[in-house]
Point group: C2
Chain length 406, copies 2
Amino acid sequence: MIIIKGGVTAPKGFLASGVKAGIKKSGKLDLALLYSEVPAVAAAAFTTNRFQASPVKVSKLHLKNKTHQAIIVNSGNANCANGKVGDKDAIKMAGFIAKTLLLDKKEILAASTGIIGEYLPIERIEAAIPKLVGDLSETKSGKFAEAIMTTDTVKKELAVKVKLGTATVAIGGTCKGVGMIYPLMKTEGHATMLCFLTTDAAITKGALSASLDEAIDDSFNMISVDGDMSTNDSCFIMANGLAENKKIASKGGDYYKFTQALKFTASELAKKLARDGEGATKFIEISVTGAKSKEDAKVIARRISTSNLFKCCIYGEDPNWGRVAAAAGASGVKFNTERIDIYLGPIKALANGTSVKGFDKGKARAIFKKKNIRIKVDLKSGRANATAWTCDFSKEYVAINSEYST
Amino acid sequence: MIIIKGGVTAPKGFLASGVKAGIKKSGKLDLALLYSEVPAVAAAAFTTNRFQASPVKVSKLHLKNKTHQAIIVNSGNANCANGKVGDKDAIKMAGFIAKTLLLDKKEILAASTGIIGEYLPIERIEAAIPKLVGDLSETKSGKFAEAIMTTDTVKKELAVKVKLGTATVAIGGTCKGVGMIYPLMKTEGHATMLCFLTTDAAITKGALSASLDEAIDDSFNMISVDGDMSTNDSCFIMANGLAENKKIASKGGDYYKFTQALKFTASELAKKLARDGEGATKFIEISVTGAKSKEDAKVIARRISTSNLFKCCIYGEDPNWGRVAAAAGASGVKFNTERIDIYLGPIKALANGTSVKGFDKGKARAIFKKKNIRIKVDLKSGRANATAWTCDFSKEYVAINSEYST
């Protein structure tokens, strides 16, 4: 597998665009379109929040269709908690694209991100459709990435190539999200996390869905910015088969190779989200090792990644590791506290549940002064591991989120 | 029931003191003692964090004794994650008091609050014991309240009187805690929440424990400052029988009257904690009504009370109620989103899951500008209710917690 240039238009046959529809008060790009030149199979995972935005409901319904060719996305408005009007608006968004591209409405998927509880300016979206479709291009993945941003400070794109038999398959992706980030998405199932993946691999819809699930569980479902789960989280993938590899239909060699590449792409994109978390000044990787089960390791890693106190001390470059221990202990997972070790970078702070005598606060502080910080919690009770990613918690986070809708 | 002046020394036969032992670098009061002149029955609830501080372990053990007469508490150091040294230090703390007051070690309970993973300066504590015991007085409940504070900005005390038959029973209480506040305590089981309750009621140990559990579930277990559960949370009650009421031994009229008064005392103290939350500028009450079960209502109320995004918008006086909906939806509780109403003070923002047309943002903002803010979520699906309390999330919170141990 190699990393290549580009984003969602890196795989063969995908076009993208991003335009200004006037949804965002700032006047920035706010409407995006992703298009496959040939019918593709699609899979998607959505938020498990009980409140689901209208585009999530509509995309779930449309996903029952066998093939898909386009995804329309707006930023600046979540189209959530708007009742039947919201549902109709989401269907209209898909309908505009279907009409213009001469497709069936059910071949179109939709996503929204932004403020909850305000009605979508659907006329502005309709007015922007001709330009949105007209701008579709192999070179516009950057515009797409930009148009889906809310409080994101950077575009987030990635593409890889992997050899399957004699064919070379590409996977491309772009994502957004810097707040209300604590996704827990399942395939049956204000900022928000959105991800759009594309591939020219030939793969069945069922295998694509299984592969996406595996990739998401170890990537997007392991990041947190603020512990707040969005109503709009969505991760889509379209596979159009243009790479002409032997079609992947079940779990075998090619499936695992493809899934590994997809997992890599998803993880790298997920890390970009954590790194750009609202107000973030530092990126934090939390590894939990030696757990009895992967689920245990995940729960502990996720709990630490959502501890405000832990994230504040990272911001303050203060190696107050007791907060890591407290968060692990609050996870609900049963473990023997008398076996646990905690490392700050390479420095052991806790050994067998006891604070290390001679722990060098100065050296630990030097580690906390870096941009990238690694915390390891070793339970020494089994062989399962998990890794979560988060960012520090800064005054800027509060500033950004206390002034969001105003 | 009437509210009376004072704190833990309001009930007959209780004395308290608070002195400077030199544990806190600031030189403030940091060692406290609560004493009943006659043997009392005691009950306590402790953190359900897997990591438990040494004084929690020691108090759990000592609670097996039939009677208790004193509780020693230090602030400035949590005595947590210090292994066997920490356990021995906690036993020593109890031992110092036992020796000085000629009691059995097991009649003494202990609590600590402060930084995790630093060893207790046990010699300083030992040196301060003569003054600590010598200062015991009916008038020193305020010194006790002060000596248990960490980043608290105010003392938190309350006392009530309630008539049981011909006798009048008093309940007194004091508590501390403004961060690492998201307790979930059970009777079998850096800042931290600590509460000390006293009563001169005659009551059996079993009835006292049951009553405490009931009181805690609707009070301390319903507050959050930052969603971080402490390793040291403890709530103690001692009942010395000096009010000479007919002994409460089982659930009957007097039990319920007593429990109601205890619940009131605990709730008022719990609200003081949320109101003084680290960096707090506003106090927030979240009521969830019309739930199918009390557990459902509690889970939703607690989830909203820990939403950083919701708490940031309260700080910013921004009526962004979508964050309340998103948090409710992320609680894991199943409810019909098409029935739910959300109120900001008296203003309805969401009706039957749909944003209210004509919602007056200006009026809502006026409500958010107040010191005390009430949010109501009505599920309209049952008869169960619950209330949670929290504070807003300010830049000051981040400042306080990024500089805690340094």
